[in-house]
């Protein structure tokens, strides 16, 4: 891709961002509050420049889907958001706080407001489902009362449709169930932002659809703002208020699902085929 082509794509992306902003505004009933603001973010691992110049906003209450080939830096971007990785250049603000400038305690407090669903679910495999869900309650919310803890655990398991899995070990759960429990463990802290790292990867189409609908219900029921990283177009179609396409560490397009699906650009439309 030569420089001129890149510039054209960037300007198209900016134009589409305007439309997207309107879409996001509509999706959240008039609110334009930005919860995550990323500007000119870059990150390298040795000589490998994974993120070149990422700029994106996440509005309150919207679902932003990030599409892109493997290795384009999607997961790196959301790991920077929670401070698991540090960017080399650029600004990354969550709730108006620059993540890099936060102290250890401030970062911990910020992380409580952000949920992160890992690709594998990342359940603690030496603990039962109940212990997995109680883990953040005990340590983050400092809840000691057993009854209250059980109530919260049962409530959230009901919410993800797995009330019977409470005493099971993660090894006894299917891939879809693990993702649901992973989501429950994240949601139990009632985060304001959710970051989903490929939530439907490795699942059959029916389970993928169930997980996608679960993501949508989390947005509707709790008003959560989410960034969803996925390759699954069916999932993107269900959950997205706005879609952003990344390629080679850069944002190449931004818009609604329908706008990008009908794009004339071969690279963009290839994601939707």
């Amino acid at each position: 891709m030569d420089q001129q082509e890149k510039e054209t794509k960037q300007s198209e992306a900016t134009e589409q961002a305007g439309t997207a902003e309107q879409t996001a505004t509509t999706a959240q009933g008039g609110s334009k509050e930005v919860v995550i603001k990323i500007e000119h973010l870059s990150k390298s691992f040795g000589d490998n420049e994974v993120l070149k110049d990422i700029t994106l906003d996440l509005y309150k209450g919207e679902n932003l889907v990030v599409l892109g080939k493997s290795g384009t830096g999607k997961s790196v971007t959301i790991k920077c958001v929670v401070g698991l990785l540090e960017q080399d250049k650029g600004s990354l603000k969550v709730f108006d706080q620059e993540v890099l400038d936060l102290s250890e305690q401030e970062l911990k407090e910020l992380r409580i407001r952000i949920g992160f669903l890992f690709q594998s679910g990342a359940l603690y495999d030496s603990m039962t489902v109940r212990e997995n869900l109680e883990f953040p309650l005990r340590r983050v919310l400092k809840i000691k009362d057993t009854e209250e803890m059980t109530k919260r655990v049962e409530e959230i398991l009901e919410g993800v449709g797995l009330p019977d899995a409470i005493d099971k070990m993660p090894s006894e759960l299917s891939g879809g169930m693990r993702k649901r429990i992973g989501l429950a463990r994240t949601m139990i802290l009632k985060p304001e932002i959710m970051l989903y790292d490929e939530p439907t990867t490795g699942l059959d189409p029916i389970t993928s659809k169930e997980i996608s609908e679960l993501i949508l219900s989390m947005q509707k029921n709790y008003g959560i703002s989410s960034i969803i990283i996925t390759h699954d177009i069916a999932c993107a179609k269900i959950v997205a208020n706005r879609v952003l396409v990344m390629s080679e560490g850069e944002v190449i397009a931004e818009g609604t699902f329908d706008e990008l699906e009908g794009s004339d650009d071969e690279l963009i439309s290839s994601f939707f085929k």
Binding site: V82, L84, K108, E109, R111, I112, I114, F116, F118, Q119, S120, A122, L123, Y124, D125, F135, P136, R139, V140, K142, G182, R185, T186, L189
Partner: protein, 257 residues
């Protein structure tokens, strides 16, 4: 060529810096609020109680074999009555601490390395971190402290069973009463023999736990790295045990113990 040397020196310095940093966060987290007592007790059970059989058998056989091997020579000099004294001092001062620590490096350090390594690979440690919990306090502090407490206890148990093994070996070819044997053994051991050995095992425990945690916690991605973490944990912990033992011997000699 110079660049290669520079790169490898840099790598060594970075690794040393990371280890010091990790050690620092271990010590900082010991004194933080909300110590994970339940996990600490669970780790003591896993590290200590579950190691009883292998440590017990090893201690007994070391005492038994040592006595059988030295008995003929001692008899030649008519010094077989010195067997309890010789076995007690060598087991308590040197043989049991080092052998038990090396076995613990193989069993415990590799276990911790593999466990934390697989947690890292499956993103469980990152999940703990992003949830706002403290993985160092929950995973590292509890395991290292459990090693520091349990390795000395396991060594003392091995000392006792080693003496029992020696008593059995003596009775294979002659008839010595238990009271006489243990009276002679314990009479020859002084506080100055036991204390340095116990202090030494505390540091062995620290090395075993710390190295296992460091290697596992900082392993790379991929299943291969779990094996590498476990393997390098054993090698590094064993090396540290030998180094600490060398330093401890010099120190005890200098202090007149």
């Amino acid at each position: 060529m110079d660049q290669e040397y520079t790169a490898s020196y840099k790598k060594i310095l970075v690794e040393a810096g990371n280890q010091v940093n990790f050690m620092g966060s271990f010590f900082r987290n010991i004194f933080r609020m909300n110590f994970e007592w339940n996990e600490f007790v669970r780790q003591c059970y896993m590290i200590g109680y579950k190691s009883f059989p292998i440590i017990g058998i090893t201690g007994f056989i070391v005492g038994f074999v040592m006595t059988l091997q030295s008995l003929p020579t001692m008899k030649e000099f008519g010094a077989e009555s010195y067997i309890p004294k010789m076995v007690a001092i060598s087991l308590i001062r040197e043989i049991c601490p080092v052998i038990i620590a090396l076995i613990c490096a193989g069993k415990i350090s590799s276990g911790i390395g593999a466990e934390l390594g697989s947690m890292k690979v499956s993103e469980q440690i990152e999940a703990m971190d992003v949830s706002g919990a403290n993985p160092i306090q929950y995973l590292v502090v509890t395991r290292v402290l459990a090693c520091i407490f349990m390795v000395p206890l396991l060594t003392l148990m091995a000392d006792t069973l080693g003496l029992a093994g020696s008593f059995v070996a003596v009775n294979v070819s002659s008839d010595v009463s238990g009271i006489l044997f243990f009276h002679k053994a314990f009479n020859s051991v002084e506080f100055g023999d036991l204390l340095p050995a116990v202090i030494k095992t505390v540091f062995f425990g620290l090395a075993i736990g710390f190295v296992g945690c460091y290697k596992g916690y900082n392993s790379d991605r991929g299943t291969e790295s779990v094996g590498i973490a476990a393997n390098s944990a054993v090698v590094s912990a064993s090396l540290w045990i030998i180094v600490i033992d060398g330093i401890a011997v010099q120190l005890t000699n200098a202090l007149g113990y």
